[in-house]
Symmetry: C2
């Protein structure tokens, strides 16, 4: 397959790499060419614009940090739909508003391009290992065409029409925000009460409070590792999207709002690039012995 990957960041890099490794013909475009060096060395080709990357492609994948950038990469003057021969399918793997997914689908259909929203869970490690979950929204036909590439990256699931993949992703992020809030509180209280965090993990891990996010975060907290699997600033963006959907439907999503407020505080205090496990810093911020966010205890 001829595949364009637009956006070679933390996520786009392993996505492109894996597609190259699987033998696909991959063209990449990114804001900074340097970030693509490794995939270019591995056999991908460089394009000076999204349009050039996607020209004549079977599938173009966008993996970008925010909705505006996605919109520009698809609908902009040098975006994918502006190519002489636009890609047959455009799949947005970024977490974007469902409305944007529907707008891209509508704009695409005018040019004969099938659009899919295809946000993922699993992070860079999941992309590198081919174990992402891909939450797709769009037509079954577009899904079928993208599927061979998606299966190189993980497990694709077609939820429904345009926007439904993004909707499920936002539900997932709300859930994760709530759990992260609980983990932050639990960590802060356990530490304040002088409990051995290994013992706490052993006991709590036997009950209803356990789960893969705890299993991811807790050992990192024990060793003081706040390096990002998923960045605070990205979580703020995703929660904002979820809360905006909630507002539109008259919902009061209090756990998500609480998590967003805490993450915003953390970002404002200089922790936007930390991993989401750093949230406990908010809970302990008024303690006399609280570490400052700037204190570099990252390994």
């Amino acid at each position: 397959m001829r595949i364009a990957v637009v956006g070679i960041g933390l996520m786009g890099r392993p996505v492109a790499q894996r597609l190259v490794d699987a033998g696909h013909e991959v063209a990449v475009h990114s804001r900074r060419k340097e970030s693509a060096e490794a995939v270019l060395a591995a056999g991908a080709s460089w394009a000076d614009s999204a349009a050039a990357a996607g020209d004549g492609a079977d599938l173009a994948i966008t993996v970008l940090p925010d909705p505006d950038t996605v919109e520009a990469a698809v609908l902009g003057p040098s975006g994918l739909l502006a190519a002489a021969a636009p890609p047959a399918v455009v799949a947005d793997m970024s977490t974007s508003p469902p409305q944007l997914a529907r707008r891209l689908a509508a704009a695409g259909s005018e040019r004969g391009v099938a659009a899919l929203d295809a946000p993922v869970s699993g992070g860079p490690m999941g992309a590198a290992a081919g174990t992402l979950t891909i939450m797709a929204g769009g037509s079954p036909e577009a899904f079928a065409r993208a599927r061979p590439a998606f299966e190189v990256l993980g497990t694709p699931v077609l939820i429904g029409g345009p926007g439904t993949g993004q909707s499920v992703k936002l539900v997932n992020q709300l859930l994760i925000g709530g759990i992260a809030g609980g983990i932050a509180d639990a960590w802060a209280l356990g530490e304040a009460l002088g409990l051995d965090p290994e013992v706490v993990a052993g006991v709590v891990g036997r009950g209803l409070g356990t789960g893969p996010l705890l299993e991811f975060m807790w050992p990192r907290l024990i060793r003081g590792d706040l390096a990002p699997g998923f960045k605070v600033d990205h979580m703020i963006k995703d929660l904002a999207l979820a809360l905006a959907e909630g507002d539109e439907h008259g919902l009061d999503l209090a756990a998500g709002r609480s998590a967003r407020e805490r993450y915003r505080w953390l970002s404002g205090a200089g922790g936007g690039d930390l991993g989401t496990q750093a949230l406990y810093r908010h809970a302990v911020r008024d303690r006399a012995d609280a570490p400052t966010v700037e204190e570099d205890d990252r390994p």
Copy 2:
């Protein structure tokens, strides 16, 4: 072993029943004798006071709804320590403040009684099946003496000195409160966006947002089952204890506070006896088509 069980409610009943079934000599006391009918029929004996139940016992277990009742059952004029021959070990399986556990331990030692705090996770089903996790605080000697009875009920873990079992339990409840908040938000948003909750569970269940609490709550939400595994009012009590500990240590436990506020609203709206999975009702309360809390959709 001669064992007293004080408090024959939702939890005390299966605890006493299982100890009877394991061949222990069990005396029970409870506020209302009727609630003990089944365990009396199974071979337990009735006592008119905690003191009478615990007289000459190897172990007395309290399983009571709140700290005041625990205090009265142990330290009161007809409490366990007032028996002619007080029990060798008193274990409080209720969720109580760590301070109370330390006070009971101090009062016990004056009468030659070893006190353990021994709160549990696993609920009535876990008690009936003998799969509780028992978080114990106290001396290794007291733990060793109580252990044969504890092992009938589940897996006992000695955390440390008096109060440490309660501390771990409060950490566990904070975690559960946060997760429950996330599940409430996720359910409310998924429903508002018209997503099939079975599909959402399938996708979310593959990622970091999954875990046993989601697996417990989600199918119940799908079938509209708000019957309690764990009651809203009990969660409010546990979160209050955890938040009080947090206050004492200068912590801002925002996820726990948010969950408590929502559960309080739910209780105030008549849902105190619902299961904790009913929390989503708070998120949707302002929607035009929101069900009232009183609407009985319990099976």
